[in-house]
Symmetry: C2
DNA sequence: TATTGTTATACTCTATAACTATA
DNA sequence: TATAGTTATAGAGTATAACAATA
C-alpha cells in the first residue's frame, strides 16, 4: 500500500524529530545540575566499566585526548573522579569514579526519571503501553555499534 | 505481580537512559554540520511558527534574552535568518527564517534521518515494528506542555 | 619511533549585569 | 516605570598543535 511506503519512508525522519524535541525538554530539566551531558556520560561509563586510562576514555566517548584530559581535570577538581598512576605502564593514568561521583549520578538519574514520570503520567494508557513495549527496541537501537567507529 | 511493579517503577529510568544514549549517538552524526542544537531548534521553530520577536523566542526556547540576541546575530551573519524592525511596536525586532535557512534545515534533517535509517536497518523487524508503533506516543510525550512553563 | 598524557591557545555557546530605546 | 533588545564581559566546554615522559 502507498500508505505503508509513505510511513516507512518517514519513520526515521519522524523518530529523529521526536528525539530532538524530547532531548530539548529533558535538557531544560537539568536546572541546578552541575553536570554537563559529557560529564554525565563519562561518569556513567566509569561506573559501568570501571577505571580506565584517558586515551581509552577519549576513544570510547568520542572526544579528543586533550578534551578528555580537561574533562577529567574538571571532574577531579570537583571530587567526582579520582586519578592515579598506572601500576604496570607508568604512562597511563587510571581514572575512576568516587563515592561522590556515584551519588551525583544517582541523584541526576532520579531527577530525570521524575521529570519523565511527570510527562508519562499525562499520557493516555495506550501511549504509555506503546512506549513501554518499545523500550527494549530503543535500547537496542542505542546500542547498535556501527556509528561509533564510522565517525573517526 | 512483582515483575510488573518493578517494570513500571523503572520504566522512566530506562527511557531516560535510552534517550541519553541515543542522543549521544546522534550527536556524533553531526560531523560537518554548521548548526548547533540550539540553532537547529530555533530554525525549526521559525519555520514552524513564523517570524517572532527576540524575547518571545528566548522564552519559548528556554534561553536568556541576551543569549537569544547572540544566537540570532550569529544565524543572521550566516544568512539563515532575517531581522526587521516591528511595524507596530518599534521596540521589537521580527526574526524570520530565510530560504537558505530552510535549505539548511532540510539538509540536516535528511542527514540525521539517513543515519537513523542505517541504525534501524540493523535491528530485527520486531524491534523496528515496536519503534514504529511507539512513534505517535513518543511524539505526544515530546509535546506535553507541562515542563516548559515549570522551569522559569 | 609509537603511545600516553599534558599544556598552550583559540573558538563556540551561553549566562549575568549594565545599558539604550520605545511604550 | 515596564518592556524589547543590545553590548560588555566572563565562564564552560572542546578542539588542534606542540610538548614531555614512558614504552
Amino acid at each position: 500500500m502507498d500508505r505503508d511506503r509513505a510511513a516507512a519512508r518517514t519513520e526515521e525522519a519522524e523518530l529523529s524529530a521526536v528525539l530532538e524535541r524530547l532531548v530539548r525538554v529533558l535538557r531544560q530539566v537539568r536546572g541546578g545540575e552541575p553536570l554537563s551531558a559529557s560529564a554525565a556520560s563519562l561518569l556513567a561509563r566509569l561506573e559501568r566499566d570501571g577505571p580506565q586510562g584517558v586515551s581509552e576514555l577519549a576513544r570510547q566517548e568520542g572526544a579528543s585526548q586533550p578534551g578528555m584530559t580537561q574533562l577529567v581535570a574538571r571532574l577531579e577538581r570537583e571530587g567526582f573522579i579520582q586519578r592515579r598512576g598506572g601500576a604496570e605502564d607508568r604512562r597511563v593514568v587510571e581514572v575512576g569514579i568516587t563515592a561522590d561521583g556515584r551519588k551525583l549520578l544517582a541523584s541526576r538519574r532520579s531527577q530525570r526519571a521524575k521529570a519523565l514520570r511527570r510527562l508519562l503520567d499525562e499520557l493516555p494508557e495506550d501511549d504509555r503501553a506503546a512506549i513501554r513495549a518499545a523500550l527494549p527496541a530503543l535500547a537496542h537501537l542505542a546500542d547498535v555499534p556501527s556509528l561509533a567507529s564510522a565517525n573517526r
